[in-house]
Subunit: 345 residues, 2 copies
Amino acid sequence: MRERDEGAPAGRRVTAMDVARAAGVSVSAVSRAFTPGASVSARTRARVMAAAAKLDYMPNALARGLMTQRSNLIGIILTNFKNPLYLSVLDHFTHAIQQRGLRALVFNISRGGDLTEAARQILQYSVDGLIVSAGAISPLLAGQCARRQIPVVAFARNPRSKDIDVVCADNVAGGRMAARLLIERGYRRIGYLGGSAQASTSQDRGKGLVGELEDAGLSLHCSVHASEYSYEAGRVAARALLSMDEPPDALFCANDVLAFGALDVARHRFGLSVPGQLGIVGFDDIGLAEADSFSLTTVRQPIEEMVRETIALMMRRMEDPRLEPETRLLSCSLVERGTVRGPRL
Amino acid sequence: MRERDEGAPAGRRVTAMDVARAAGVSVSAVSRAFTPGASVSARTRARVMAAAAKLDYMPNALARGLMTQRSNLIGIILTNFKNPLYLSVLDHFTHAIQQRGLRALVFNISRGGDLTEAARQILQYSVDGLIVSAGAISPLLAGQCARRQIPVVAFARNPRSKDIDVVCADNVAGGRMAARLLIERGYRRIGYLGGSAQASTSQDRGKGLVGELEDAGLSLHCSVHASEYSYEAGRVAARALLSMDEPPDALFCANDVLAFGALDVARHRFGLSVPGQLGIVGFDDIGLAEADSFSLTTVRQPIEEMVRETIALMMRRMEDPRLEPETRLLSCSLVERGTVRGPRL
DNA sequence: CTGAAAGCGCTAACAA
DNA sequence: TTGTTAGCGCTTTCAG
């Protein structure tokens, strides 16, 4: 009765059947009309589309997903909502995902909350893939996904496990780059301002630093782990380091916001000149690193490329789930700005 | 513990029926066991749960949503992936959403891309609600949602239309606060560094500034619209303003990153002392505004409260869709730091 | 190319 | 409290 009333106030939702009736065709015809590359005559398709437009119909993705076993949903689990880098990460991911006709289901576990539990929630939506940028992926979780044939890729974390795909910056090499630069430029008492002690990223960056230092016959002068990857935590940590009896003359920070904190404390609280009395190198190269106020010399993570690789790996595995898991370490690059002194000429 | 090989080894997905068989009960019993507050005996529930655990079963949210007409999905459409504030916005939204057992479907339209089209994509997933933080919501879109009984709320934008819920900071009042402070502190040639000319936020903040200026018998000294809300755009715009024959002695910037750009250009390129020769006020109060390097005096947007209100409004409307649309303007507050000079004593 | 009919996995009456 | 039985809205053989 209130069937094809256009301004129908809160009427029944319009389904493929309504459209079929209005267009004088079968439901399958409607389905086909909305399925790219299905076998429908141009004429039928046109009719269907017209009726659909008139009724403001659109296919129900839930029903479709239920039937096809493809939800077109990609789950993204994130922990880090304090580091501006992740806004850019999210920007790239959502963009890339949408480009391929998929949608992003974002799950936040920054306030504490179990990764495995988060994944459970997400898996219920039969996502076609899962991107995890958070702590270690338990074998349990890996198993659940494998059994369901859902590709998982660890992003910007390096869970040493070999049975999962991972895309990550080569943090060890990045740490080495920072060390080399600092050594070359004459700094000798080099310290490490790390992030949380459990984070593989922080560990690896520190490992690279120490490795290169030792190769040069030097040793790590001092180190702290900040409580989290944030500006405030950077200040606190830097204060500790700079208050030592024999303070460092250079600091490699596990990421840019930490470095900002260190830089500000050094300049504004300890009255140190940077890069003169203290050299600072960050990691990530977030947008504000190039602000005049910071002009931070840093190790750039190739975010865009990492995102691209992540999606590529995911798609590949969607096509062939039995491929060997891969670990792709992408190279970082040094971005020299003003917090490390120039070469002696 | 043969958890791993229990189910089919990558075979058919396990359904409620499999669990029912394994537990020796009916499918409805399984359904009930997974529905909080359903009428099941503790004994059956236990049995079901045991079988479910053994088979690694979890209910299919798509099927469930199809049946119940509730997907437990909330759509979030965003444009601004350049402003760190939005990482925090996303943090709060996802958190609040998850708290209530819902999931966030995030859609990015920053790269250009039609809002109405984006909404179409999202609506296909029968989201239970839609949060839009992007340009104007067309009546067409509003209608589509209304017809489907999907609550929409415009976040941090003020589309003047009266037929939609909106939660927004009181930008006009915020602009006035900035103006009042600047006037009080003796600045007289006050300029506006706005964001994109179409953004309601930028318009309103400017409107407030001008209003207060005029109330004080002053007038706007100059103004520009930055191309976007970014640090770089802030630099470009500030450069233009500061190169004028008679440059402003104070700048109210439509947001913090814009202000950072202006601040850096003023200090490092024009050699101006801030707040001595130039006063600067920002908007948002993002984390880095309190960094020593910027120590930006700014108008704080009550993000957390805004998010809370948004969700509350949405839930309210989910219960009773025929309520009158509301516009909630939340008050901003002034955060004084170091880019505006102190009161004369 | 088109339609009829059988489900996808689950919930919600309705009986028992 | 339980099980039986219709669907939710869609895709997809399978005939025609």
